[in-house]
C-alpha cells in the first residue's frame, strides 16, 4: 500500500540497501521471439526462470519454520550463476545452499539436476555444483552430483523420488 519499489532487475542493485521487494518480473516477449523465422538460442535466463520457479516450491517445502525465509532472501540460484552455451550444448548451474551446513544441499542439487534432465534437450551436457565456498562439504556433494550412476540410483529410490517430485510439482 505504501512505499515499495517498482521493478528492475535486482542485478543492478548493490543490495546493501534493503529494497528486497524487487524481483525481476516475468520475461517480456520480444518481437524476435514472436517471429517464426528467427531462432532463439537457449540462454541462462530461460533456464534460471524455470529453476527459480521450481526452487521456490522446493525451499517452501523444506523451509525451517524456526527461521522462515522470504523468497527474496533465497538466492539459492541466481541467474549469474547459470552458464549456458547453446552451440556447445553445455549448461553449468552453481547453487548456493541456504546455510553453510545445510543438510538439504544434496537434495537441492539433485532436484536441480532432475529438473534440468527433464527440461533440456538430450544433447546438453549438464554440470550442477555448489557455488564455491558456500558449503561445508562442498566437494563431497559435488562429487555425488557429478556421478551419473549415483544420480540414477538416487532416482530409483522411491522415497527420494517422491521428495524430488513434490518439489517439482507446480500444483502444490
Amino acid at each position: 500500500m505504501v512505499g515499495g519499489g517498482s521493478g528492475v532487475g535486482s542485478g543492478l542493485l548493490e543490495n546493501a540497501n534493503p529494497l528486497i521487494y524487487e524481483r525481476s518480473g516475468e520475461r517480456p516477449v520480444t518481437a524476435g521471439e514472436e517471429d517464426e523465422q528467427v531462432p532463439d538460442s537457449i540462454d541462462a535466463r530461460e533456464i534460471f526462470e524455470s529453476l527459480f520457479l521450481h526452487l521456490t516450491h522446493l525451499i517452501r517445502s523444506i523451509n525451517d519454520p524456526e527461521h522462515p525465509l522470504t523468497l527474496e532472501e533465497l538466492n539459492v540460484v541466481e541467474q549469474v550463476r547459470v552458464q549456458v552455451s547453446d552451440p556447445e550444448s553445455t549448461v553449468a548451474v552453481a547453487f548456493t545452499p541456504t546455510i553453510p551446513h545445510c543438510s538439504m544441499a544434496t537434495l537441492i542439487g539433485l532436484s536441480i539436476k532432475v529438473k534440468l534432465l527433464r527440461s533440456l534437450p538430450q544433447r546438453f551436457k549438464m554440470d550442477v555444483h555448489i557455488t564455491p565456498g558456500t558449503h561445508a562439504s562442498e566437494h563431497a556433494v559435488n562429487k555425488q552430483l557429478a556421478d551419473k550412476e549415483r544420480v540414477a540410483a538416487a532416482l530409483e529410490n522411491t522415497h527420494l523420488l517422491e521428495v524430488v517430485n513434490q518439489c517439482l510439482s507446480a500444483r502444490s
Partner: protein
C-alpha cells in the same frame, strides 16, 4: 338426519385413525405427510389429529409416546399457519410440559416447539414461557447436533418476531442463551449461534452482568481452527466461521477489555493464521472502539505490530499489520474526547516516531522500508496524523538524502519522501490554513531537480514521479520552480536515451500541463515548435536516425501536453502547419512521418473529446485542413510528385481516418449538423468552398468519373459520416447511398470499393427502421445479387455483402439471417469460398474504424452468442453435406465463430461439436488448427470425462501438430498436451512413456516460447502417476 351427519364426520376421522395407527404403531413414515396434507387442505382439523393420536400421546412406553408426538410435530411444522390462538396456547402448554419427559421424546417435542415458534397467532407471554422452559428443562449440549440446531432455530424465530417480549426477560435471556451454547462444537450450529450473539449485541438486548460470560463463550473459538472435511455436503468454509465470529467479537466496545489482551496474545503466537486473524479482527474492532477502549493497550498493540512488520515472515502479515496500525490511528483520530481527557493520538504517534525515526538514519539502511511503511500507514489515517508525522520525518529524510551519495540509496530515500508527499495529497481536499509542505518546498524542489539530472535511471524515474506529486499540491510551486521543472521535462522527453525515462517524462508533462497550462505554453511549446521546424529542415536534408527519433519524440511531446484547451490552441496549429509543410514539398517525408503526425493529432483529438469547446475547436480546425490536404493530393497533375502520392497511401489514409473519426464522435449536435452540411456536398457536388487554400487545379468529383486518387478519399468521408451521433441528419442521404453502392461494386481499386462498402454499411447500421431503410436494403440486395451472379466485380460485390451483413447482424435486423445464409452458401463457391470463410472472422470481430460503439453504431451486446446459436447448426450441416474439396472452408468459418465466442458460453455447446473439432485437427489450414486447439484446451480441463473417450486420437493429433511449421500451432498443441495430464490418470498413464519420448524433441525447438510450453508439459507428464506428485 343427525345420524347421517355423524357418519359423514366419522368416515374421514376413521381414515385419520388408520393413518395415525400406521405411523405410530406401524412405524411407517408416509402417513405423516398424508395427514399434514389433509390438514392443510381442510379435511381434518389439528384438534381431530390430537384426538386421533389420543392415547399414543400418553402411552406409558416412551417410544410410542415419542412417535405420537413426532407425528403431531410434523403436522404442526407444515400447518402452523392454520392454528388458532387458543389452540396454540393449549399446544404450547402441552409441549412445555413434555419437555420434562423421557429423553427419547425430547427431539420431537423440540420440533413441535419450533413449529409453534413460527406461529403468528402466538399470545403475548408464550414465547418467554417456552424459552424459560427450555432453559430450565433441557440440557442442550447433551442433545445431538440436529436437536441443538432446533433449539437455536426456536430462539432465532422468537428473536425475529418477539423482540420486545424477550427483552422483557432482561439479562436472564442472555444468561439462558449462554448456557445453551456453552460447549457447542458443530460448525453448522456455531454459525447460527454466532448470528444470535451478534443480534443480542446489535439489537441491544440486556447483557446485564454477563458481558464477560458472553465474551468467554464466544471468544473460546478464537482463532478459528477448522478444516472442512473432504466432500463436506454442508459447504461451510473456515472463512465463514472466521467472519461470523469476527462480527461477534468486533461488535461492541464492551468486549474491548477482554478482547484486546486476547488479540495481543494471538498476534504474538507462532501460528501464521492466528496472527492474520488477530490483526484483521483488531482492524474490525477499530471501527467501533474509541480511545477509552484502546487506551490501556496501545503500547502493547504497537509493540506487537511493530515486531510483525520489522521481522515479517510473510507479506500478508505485514500488510495486515500495517492495515491494523492505520485503523488504530484513524480510531484515535476521530475519538470524541471528554473535556478533561488527554488526547492519546499525539502520544501514540510520538511513540511510533520514536521507534521508527532512528531507523531512517541508520547508515546501513536495514530497516528503512519497514519503518517508512509503518509511519506511512499511521500518517494515512487522518490529517492530524499526517501533519504530525510528516513534519517530523520530512526534514530528517531531506537531510538523509544529502548524507548518502550513492544513487540507489538516494533513490530509496526519495521514494520514501514520495510516499509521504502522496499522503499529503490525500488530505488536500480539506481546506487548511497552513500547508505543512510550504516550509520544505525549496528543499524538495532542489532535491527533485538533483534526481532528474542524476545518471541513474531509477533515481530519475522516482524524481519524475515526485515532481508530478509536488505539482499536484495546490499553490506550492512558484513560477520559477515551474520554469525549471518544464525545462527538465523538455530535456528528458527529447534528449534522454532511456525509453522508461522519457515515457515517464511525457506522462508527467501530460499531468502537469493540465494544471499549469501557462507554464507549458510559455516554456515548452515554443521549444517544441522550434524543434519541429529544425526537424523539417533536417528532413529536407535527408533522414538521420537519431534526429529522426528526436523528431518523433517532439511530436509525441506536443500531443502529450495538449491536455488543456489553451494549449491545444497552440499545439494543433503547429501540427497542422507541419503537415502543410510536408505537403508543399518543403520537406522530404516518407509515409512514416505523415503517419506519426496523424497519430499525434489523434492523441490530441482524444484528449479534446471530454471538453466540448476544444472538441469543437479541434474538429473545425483539423478536419477541413486534412480534407484540403487530401483533396489537393488527389488532383491529377501532369507530373504527380512523390510527396503528394504519400498522402494517398493506404496506411496514411487509415491514420487520417482515425483522426477524423476521433474528432467527430463527441461533436455537439449543432456543430455536427453544420459540419455534415459542408462535408457531404464536398463529396457529392465537389463544393470545396469551406476548405482552406482551396484553389485546386481541377474539380473534386470522387463519385463521378474522378481519378482513382479522388475515389480513395471516400475513406475520409466514411470516417466522418460513420462517427456522427445517430440523431444527426445526413443531407442528400438517398443520393449518397446510391453513389456509395455504385462505387462499392466498382472494380479496379480495392481500397476505394471497400471504403464505400464500409461507409454504406455504417450508415445502414445507424439508419432508423422504416420504409427508407427497407428501400436501401432492397437496393443493396439487388446490387449484390446481380454483382455476384457473374462479371468482373464479384469479389467487390462479395465485400459489400459481407459488410452489409455485419451491419445488420450487429443490430439484430431480421434480414440478417437471410444475408448470413447467402454468405454461407458462398462457402462452397470455388472462387469466393476461402474469402467467405475468412468473412466469418470479420463478422465476429470488432472493427476499429466503422461499426464501433464509440462511433455510435448500434451494436447489441450478445450479437456473437446470437450469431452462434442461429448459425452454427447450419454450418455443421453444410459441412457434412459439402463436397470434400470445400469442407475446409466450412471448418474455417466455424472455427472463426467458435474462437470469438466467450469461453463460458462455448463450453456447454462443445461436446456436441466434438466430432467436428476432432476432424478439424486434421485440416491442413493452420488457422483452423489453431482455433480448434484453443477450443479443445479448456474442454480438456472442464469436461475430462467426454474427452477421455477420444484420448487415442487426441494424443496422436496433438503430437503431430507439435511439429507444425507454425509456431502458434506448436505452442497451442503443447498446451493441449499439457492439459491431457488433467484427464483421469488411468486413462492417460498408458501414454506416459510415449509422451515423454515425443516431448524431448520440442525441448530443442528453435523458439523459446515453444520450449517453455514443452518444458512445462513434459514436466507434468513426468509427474503423472509417480510418487509425490
Amino acid at each position: 338426519m343427525a345420524a347421517v351427519a355423524a357418519l359423514e364426520a366419522e368416515a374421514p376421522t376413521g381414515a385419520l385413525w388408520g393413518l395415525v395407527q400406521d405411523f405410530v404403531m406401524g412405524q411407517q413414515e408416509g402417513p405423516a405427510g398424508q395427514v399434514a396434507a389433509d390438514v392443510k387442505s381442510g379435511n381434518y382439523t389439528v384438534l381431530q389429529v390430537v384426538e386421533a393420536l389420543g392415547s399414543s400421546l400418553e402411552n406409558p412406553e416412551p417410544r410410542t409416546r415419542a412417535r405420537g408426538i413426532q407425528l403431531l410435530s410434523q403436522v404442526l411444522l407444515q400447518c402452523h399457519s392454520l392454528l388458532l390462538e387458543k389452540e396454540v396456547v393449549h399446544l404450547i402448554l402441552f409441549y412445555e410440559n413434555r419437555l420434562k419427559d423421557h429423553h427419547l421424546v425430547i427431539p420431537s417435542v423440540l420440533q413441535g416447539l419450533k413449529a409453534l415458534s413460527l406461529c403468528v397467532a402466538l399470545s403475548p407471554g408464550l414465547a418467554v414461557s417456552v424459552l424459560k422452559a427450555i432453559f430450565q428443562e433441557v440440557h442442550v449440549q447433551s442433545l445431538p447436533q440436529v436437536d441443538r440446531h432446533t433449539v437455536y432455530s426456536i430462539i432465532t424465530n422468537f428473536m425475529r418476531t418477539r423482540e420486545e417480549e424477550l427483552k422483557g426477560l432482561g439479562a436472564d435471556f442472555t444468561f439462558g442463551f449462554i448456557q445453551v451454547m456453552d460447549g457447542e462444537k458443530d460448525p453448522r450450529n456455531l454459525l447460527v449461534a454466532f448470528r444470535i450473539v451478534h443480534d443480542l449485541i446489535s439489537r441491544d438486548y440486556s447483557l446485564g452482568p454477563f458481558v464477560e460470560e458472553l465474551f468467554e463463550v464466544t471468544s473460546c473459538y478464537f482463532p478459528i481452527d477448522f478444516t472442512p472435511p473432504p466432500n463436506d455436503p454442508h459447504g461451510i468454509q473456515r472463512e465463514d466461521l472466521i467472519l461470523s465470529l469476527r462480527a461477534v467479537l468486533a461488535s461492541t466496545p464492551r468486549f474491548a477489555e477482554f478482547l484486546l489482551p486476547l488479540l495481543i496474545e494471538k498476534v504474538d503466537s507462532e501460528i501464521l493464521s492466528a496472527k492474520l486473524d488477530s490483526l484483521q479482527t483488531l482492524n474490525a474492532c477499530c471501527a467501533v472502539y474509541g480511545q477509552n477502549e484502546l487506551k490501556d493497550f496501545l503500547p502493547s498493540l504497537w509493540a506487537s505490530i511493530r515486531r510483525e512488520v520489522f521481522q515479517t515472515a510473510s507479506e500478508r502479515v505485514e500488510a495486515e499489520g500495517l492495515a491494523a496500525l492505520h485503523s488504530l490511528t484513524a480510531c484515535l483520530s476521530r475519538s470524541v474526547l471528554r473535556a478533561d481527557a488527554e488526547d492519546l493520538l499525539d502520544s501514540f504517534l510520538s511513540n511510533i516516531l520514536q521507534d521508527c525515526r532512528h531507523h531512517l538514519c541508520e547508515p546501513d539502511m536495514k530497516l528503512v522500508w519497514p519503518s517508512a511503511k509503518l509511519l506511512q500507514a499511521a500518517a494515512g489515517a487522518s490529517t492530524r496524523a499526517c501533519d504530525h508525522i510528516t513534519s517530523s520525518v520530512l526534514p530528517l529524510l531531506l537531510d538523509q538524502f544529502h548524507k548518502h551519495s550513492q544513487s540507489n540509496q538516494r533513490r530509496t530515500i526519495l521514494e520514501m519522501i514520495l510516499g509521504f508527499l502522496k499522503l499529503q495529497q490525500k488530505w488536500n481536499s480539506e481546506d487548511k490554513d497552513e500547508r505543512p509542505l510550504s516550509g520544505f518546498k525549496d528543499q524538495l524542489c532542489s532535491l527533485v531537480f538533483m534526481a532528474l539530472t542524476d545518471p541513474s535511471i531509477q533515481l530519475q524515474l522516482v524524481g519524475i514521479r515526485t515532481l508530478t506529486v509536488l505539482g499536484a499540491q495546490p499553490d506550492l510551486l512558484s513560477a520559477g520552480d515551474l520554469e525549471l521543472a518544464v525545462g527538465h521535462l523538455h530535456r528528458l522527453s527529447l534528449v534522454e536515451e532511456n525509453p522508461q525515462s522519457w515515457m515517464a517524462a511525457l506522462e508527467a508533462s501530460e499531468a502537469l500541463a493540465s494544471l499549469y497550462p501557462a507554464a507549458f505554453s510559455s516554456h515548452l511549446v515554443p521549444k517544441l515548435a522550434e524543434e519541429l521546424r529544425r526537424g523539417e529542415s533536417d528532413l529536407a536534408r535527408g533522414d538521420e536516425p537519431t534526429k529522426c527519433s528526436r523528431h518523433l519524440r517532439c511530436l509525441q511531446a506536443l500531443s502529450a501536453v495538449s491536455t488543456h484547451p489553451s494549449i491545444v490552441k497552440e499545439t494543433l496549429p503547429l501540427l497542422l502547419q507541419h503537415l502543410w509543410q510536408v505537403n508543399r514539398g518543403n520537406a522530404v517525408a516518407g509515409s512514416t512521418e505523415v503517419i506519426a503526425v496523424c497519430q499525434s493529432l489523434q492523441q490530441v483529438a482524444e484528449k479534446c473529446q471530454q471538453d466540448p469547446e476544444s472538441c469543437g475547436y479541434f474538429h473545425e480546425t483539423a478536419v477541413p485542413c486534412l480534407l484540403a490536404l487530401a483533396v489537393q493530393a488527389s488532383m491529377a497533375e501532369k507530373e504527380p510528385s512523390v510527396l503528394r502520392k504519400v498522402l494517398l497511401e493506404d496506411e496514411v489514409l487509415a491514420a487520417m481516418v482515425s483522426v477524423i473519426s476521433t474528432a467527430t464522435t463527441h461533436l455537439s449536435p449543432e456543430l455536427a449538423a453544420q459540419s455534415v452540411a459542408r462535408i457531404v456536398p464536398l463529396f457529392l457536388d465537389g463544393n470545396t468552398s469551406f476548405l482552406p487554400e482551396n484553389s485546386f487545379p481541377s474539380r473534386f468529383q470522387p463519385f463521378q468519373d474522378g481519378s482513382s486518387g479522388q475515389r480513395r478519399l471516400v475513406a475520409l468521408l466514411m470516417a466522418f459520416v460513420c462517427s456522427l451521433p445517430r440523431n444527426v441528419e445526413i443531407p442528400q442521404l438517398n443520393q449518397l447511398m446510391r453513389e456509395l453502392l455504385e462505387l462499392s461494386c466498382c472494380h479496379g481499386c480495392h481500397f476505394s470499393s471497400t471504403a464505400a462498402a464500409k461507409c454504406f454499411a455504417g450508415l445502414l447500421n445507424k439508419h432508423p427502421a422504416g420504409q427508407q431503410l427497407d428501400e436501401f436494403l432492397q437496393l443493396a440486395m439487388d446490387t449484390v445479387e446481380s454483382g455476384l451472379s457473374s462479371g468482373p466485380s464479384r469479389s467487390q460485390t462479395f465485400t459489400l455483402l459481407l459488410w452489409v451483413t455485419k451491419a445488420l447482424v450487429l443490430r439484430y435486423h431480421p434480414l440478417s439471417s437471410c444475408l448470413t445464409a447467402r454468405l454461407m452458401g458462398l462457402l462452397s463457391d470455388p472462387e469466393l469460398g476461402p474469402a467467405a470463410a475468412d468473412g466469418f472472422s470479420l463478422l465476429m470481430s470488432d472493427c476499429t474504424d466503422v461499426l464501433t460503439r464509440a462511433g455510435h453504431a448500434e451494436v447489441r451486446i450478445m450479437f456473437r452468442q446470437r450469431f452462434f446459436t442461429d448459425n452454427v447448426p447450419a454450418l455443421v450441416q453444410g459441412f457434412h453435406a459439402a463436397p470434400q474439396d470445400v469442407k475446409p472452408n466450412y471448418l474455417k468459418g466455424l472455427s472463426h465463430v467458435l474462437n470469438r465466442l466467450p469461453k463460458p458460453v462455448l463450453l456447454p455447446e462443445l461436446p456436441t461439436l466434438l466430432s467436428l473439432l476432432l476432424e478439424a485437427l486434421s485440416c491442413p489450414d493452420s488457422v483452423v488448427q489453431l482455433s480448434t486447439l484453443s477450443c479443445l484446451q479448456p474442454l480438456l480441463l472442464e469436461a475430462p470425462q467426454v474427452m477421455s473417450l477420444h484420448v487415442d486420437t487426441l494424443v496422436t493429433k496433438f503430437l503431430n501438430l507439435s511439429s507444425s511449421p507454425s509456431m502458434a500451432v506448436r505452442i497451442a498443441a503443447l498446451q493441449c498436451v499439457h492439459a491431457l495430464t488433467r484427464l483421469p490418470t488411468p486413462v492417460v498413464l498408458p501414454y506416459k512413456a510415449q509422451m515423454i519420448r515425443a516431448l524431448a524433441k520440442p525441448l530443442d525447438d528453435k523458439k523459446r516460447l515453444v520450449r517453455k510450453e514443452a518444458v512445462s508439459a513434459r514436466g507434468e507428464w513426468f509427474l503423472l502417476g509417480s510418487p509425490g506428485s
